[in-house]
Amino acid sequence: MDLLLILFETGFWAATVRMATPLLFGTLGELICERAGVLNLGIEGIMAAGCMAGWTWVYFGGDLWTGVLFAAFVGACFGLLHAIFTVHLGLSQHVTGLGITMLGAALSSFVFRMLLPNITTPPKIIPFAPVKIPVLSDIPVVGEILFRQSPMTMLALVAVVAVAYVLKKTPAGLALCMTGENPSAVESQGLSVFAIRTTAVVIGSAFMAVGGAFLTLSAFDAFYIGMVNGRGWICIALVVFASWNPGKALVGTLIFAAFDALQMRVQQQTAVALPYQFYLMMPYIFSIVALIVMSRRSAYPKALLVPFRKGER
């Protein structure tokens, strides 16, 4: 009964949109990579790197938006490394991605520890404050849910529209999607598969890092080692759930975040129904269930995981 009432609270839906934000950036980033035919398992580490880079930038005196840009730049660098390995050298996308994840996570922990040695409690920064968009934020319900959020959340929502537009309506986006389906055809059009895939992985990785940066610059105000906590892997599941479609990615992340927000409320309200660890398991189990449900219907980009080599068939 209480459960149903929660669904009518605007506060609940506002929390859902907030919790969806890092996943939305991550899912869009992964989607861009995979649409071009490259699975980026580096996401977990790239998000960690973005998380750390954004926070450090602001802690040492930078402002918040350049912090986001810096995180994106760091993510792009990891993306370039990934692309050199998987696109130019045609190495295993699985192993490269895991390597990038290990490197990203280890480097960000190392740099954090070296920059701030001998600290016991993580220091804090002043994160993004929610902004009220004039007029729109006064709309009942919707205004409170969508237009009184952190500016990064609004950026994420704009990014969904932008990515969808670019992928579906622009020549560059169509070429990117074609690269994931039939790279030889792209090459015969006089375009470079290598260049398109590299760009896609670099941009996609920048998105992932911005998703990580949201955690330290908006959701919380401090950096913790292990902060990303599997969000990257969940994004990979969400891409499959979304059938590689930005609009569906928005729906998927919202459903996912709603479940996550719901389990938190239930956990707070009900008296010792289940140990809290079981509630914390739910996001991971939801992702697996989502994968199972969608796997039959989903149309993988045909050239996903297949390295392209000129003149080789």
């Binding site: 398992l41 490394l81 390995f85 130019h88 050298l89 045609g90 190495l91 295993s92 699985h94 192993v95 490269t96 895991l98 390597g99 990038i100 290990m102 490197l103 996570a105 280890a106 480097l107 922990s109 190392f110 520890r113 070296m114 040695p117 906590n229 599997g230 892997w233 969940i234 990979i236 599941a237 499959v240 140990p275 660890q277 079981f278 914390l280 398991m281 991971y284 189990i285 992702s287 697996i288 994968l291 199972i292 796997s295 039959r296 080599r309 000129k310 003149g311």
Partner: protein, 349 residues
Amino acid sequence: MRLEPRAHTSMAMTILVPVGAAALALMSCSVLILWAGASPFLALTLLVKGSLGSVFALSETLTRTIPLIFTGLAAAVAFRAKLWNIGAEGQFYLGACAATWLGTGAIDLPPPLLIPLLFAAGAIAGGLWLLGPTLLKTRLAVDEVVTTLLLNFVVLLFVNWLVFGPWKDPMAMGWPQAEPVVDAALLPPLVAKTRLHGGLLIAVFAAVLFWVVMKYTTWGYEIRAVGNNQAGATFAGIPIDRVVIRTALLSGGIAGCAGVSELLGVKGYLTLDLSPGFGYSGIVVAMLAGLHPLGVLLSALFIAALSIGADSMSRALNISNYIADIATAISLLAVLAGMMLTRYRIRFR
């Protein structure tokens, strides 16, 4: 720049690549050490001393090698069949759970019977845990990379619940840990006054066994065939799904053994820090070994020496010990790039 396939790969190349990768990893870490304001040469000396320089250091390194051999084998056998088991971490903990469940007094047997029984229980737990994602892969084409990864988080939360809840040891002064296993279940020490335990012999035996299975038996042949060329394997009448499932049981099983061995050999009781990521480092171990079971012995020793050495080096020089994780990650990427050079030659035009 273009890549040309090589006709054949020389033996020297096969050995040089992992060694070169390891060297490259250490060299790139010197940049970070310089940044931290220490001398890379001193750091390297301390690293070698701290991992191999004394009986104590060597025993610590060998103790750390044991779980890495098990998880390295788990990754090596699965990756051979192109089954991407990234869930060794979870299988490790479930193995330890199974051994805790049966080993804390539920069964009263002498050590020669109890220890093998606990290993078997751990192997079954780990194998069955990987069976789920594998069946999803073979039946419903659900990608096993994501499912095995996500299940790691589920297992860790499950263990968290166990050690804070029903299995919490009332005698542990509030620490979240399970009751210790009975004395008869403990693996005997190999060298007096060190932590090195009999699990080493089991791990080495397992590596040799895996090598024999992979090289000389039909099972091994089928696993390699499925991994190398699925279409060809189908054409040869190899039941692909059955081979993949069998591989999963082997891989998950040996990862479960890693948990049992750590439990019975090092800690004696289940905690949340039983593994500092052995499941993930196992992937690096397997890749450095070129997925060869005997190579796993050497690469496990290297990764173990790296982490033990880096621990003592970082204490001495006040550098974060995450440097070991960085070196591990770089050696993975370097060996991956290097392996391509064994198969292709780069031509610049």
